[in-house]
């Protein structure tokens, strides 16, 4: 439908509210974060231009370096632990075992529950005195393995990672949608050639849904970089900042009225995120050219 003369104003009218909010809450904040990261500012008095000093400060701050390192580990573990596990479960559930819909519903469930409620539940799971995990270990006679999971530097990090596995259902559903889109004829042909299930998965399904896999990896990385609630509640970055993440660092900078430092860490987070997204897109781009629409049902 082309624009008719009298429609032009109406189109503007229809776009205006969305554009206004988008500018105010996406474009302006991003610009302001970048710009203000070059200022020393406590949120009240006038900001003072200090060049890249905020960046130098956060880069020489061990807590920040630890936080961004944790974020990157988080993002990688999400990409290379959660996504492959989700792929495995997607392949398993796509064979439509009994009650598969029921299980799909369950795996997706943590996605709809608030992060804060799940984090509180899991801090109860890990609680050293009355926790579920220690209780289970006692019940099966492994009492010597019980420990203060979140207070212990060597286990706290792993605890937060393991907790992340709750969210594989999200990636699983995305990849199952991809698998449904694969043309049945490919499997038919493979079956005639005597391929077994595993071979079909490796040589047909996985290559054909790599675009979905790439999307999942992008989201996994982005979620990994955004991590806040679970760390805030489970460990609050502790013990000794072992589990701190950038958003938590940013939050604590803000609480200390160091808005400049907070902005600089925001910029680092945005840049890391953009870099990761471009990196994953690049990684899969060449295959996408070859693989797109190849072997997909026409929708």
């Amino acid at each position: 439908m082309k624009v008719r003369k009298n429609d032009r104003i109406t189109i503007l009218l229809f776009l205006a509210p969305a554009m206004l909010l988008f500018c105010l809450f996406f474009i302006v904040p991003i610009i302001s974060v970048c710009y203000m990261s070059f200022f020393k500012w406590n949120g009240i008095s006038d900001a003072e231009f200090i060049g890249i000093k905020n960046y130098l400060t956060i880069f020489s701050d061990n807590v920040f370096m630890r936080s961004i390192k944790n974020n990157i580990i988080w993002a990688f573990s999400a990409c290379f632990i959660q996504v492959p596990l989700a792929l495995l479960m997607a392949l398993v559930l796509s064979t439509k075992p009994r009650f598969w819909k029921f299980f799909r519903t369950i795996y997706f469930l943590p996605q709809v529950i608030s992060g804060i409620a799940i984090a509180m539940l899991w801090s109860a799971v890990y609680n050293s005195e009355y926790g579920l995990l220690n209780g289970l270990l006692k019940a099966i006679g492994l009492e010597e393995l019980t420990k203060n999971w979140l207070g212990n530097p060597s286990t706290a990090f792993i605890c937060v990672l393991v907790y992340g596995l709750l969210y594989i259902g999200y990636f699983m559903v995305i990849m199952m949608a991809g698998i449904t889109g694969v043309d049945e004829n490919y499997y038919e042909a493979a079956r005639i050639d005597g391929a077994n299930r595993l071979q079909m998965d490796i040589y047909i399904t996985i290559p054909l849904i790599r675009y979905s896999i790439a999307t999942c990896m992008t989201f996994a990385a982005v979620f990994g970089l955004r991590t806040f609630e679970q760390v805030y509640l489970l460990t609050n970055g502790g013990p000794a900042n072992r589990t701190s993440v950038v958003v938590l660092y940013l939050y604590s900078q803000m609480s200390n009225n160091n808005y400049g430092g907070a902005n600089a860490s925001s910029v680092m987070l945005i840049l890391t995120g953009a870099f990761v997204i471009v990196f994953i897109r690049r990684l899969f781009a060449e295959q996408k050219d070859r693989g797109e629409n190849n072997g997909r049902k026409k929708s």
Partner: protein, 281 residues
Amino acid sequence: MAGKSPKPTKIVSLIGKWALILFFAFYTLFPLLWLLITSLKTNAEYFENPFSLPAVWQFSNYLNAFQQANLGQMIFNSITVAIVSTFANVMIAAMAAYAISRFVFKGKEIIFALISAGIMVPLNAMMVPYFTIFSKLNLLDSLNSLRILYTAIGLPISIFIVRGFLDDFPVEIEEAAYIDGCGFFGRFFKIILPLIKTGLVTAATFQFITCWNEFVYANLLTSSPSTKTIQIGIRFFTNQFTTDFVSMYAAIIIAIVPSIAGYILFQEKVMSGLTSGAVKG
């Protein structure tokens, strides 16, 4: 095939498959069930044995949670915030998506690409500017700040979802209405909105769940008891030096039941809503 006993490899893979399926189901469900049962015990019973069933089901824990943390007010706040921002978000998104999907004008794909890129922006990194904006608007510690913010930050995904649905509908229906003398607004409200009902519900479900669950900005932008949402409310029990674990667990159950109920009712919509940004993008 008939009559042949299954090969050993078949059996192994079958066992492996079910072990995986059951393990993850257990991993997801068991803590939740444990939480539900524990929320109905007394503290003494809980400390004694975290796995026992309650001797008497303590529904009073729920009453306690309500009274101690003033959950009623917070649930009311959460509901009004979620309803207002879901409605505003979906209306604004539908209008924008309609303009983008139906008309040819300069720069529209750039606008759409820009908005879609908003899905990937790490919003948690925007604490300083959002805080500054609302303090300038004099809306700090007011539920209106959350209503506006949630409406805005949900726009990229909602526009994305609704446009997908709009693109699937043939323009001819509208052309016919246009010839019949139906104006722009008439076409939008009488023809388009009813046609893309599924898309609107999908976007609304996503938006509602996000608003209900949002924590970071509710925590940042509100402070007084009268403006707290339920997600902040349940933290009451971790802030205080309380040992009333069972009431805390009851409060958590209260906070998650609406999401779970909504999920069970609109399962397919929720799944497609939450993943549509990824599936189509």
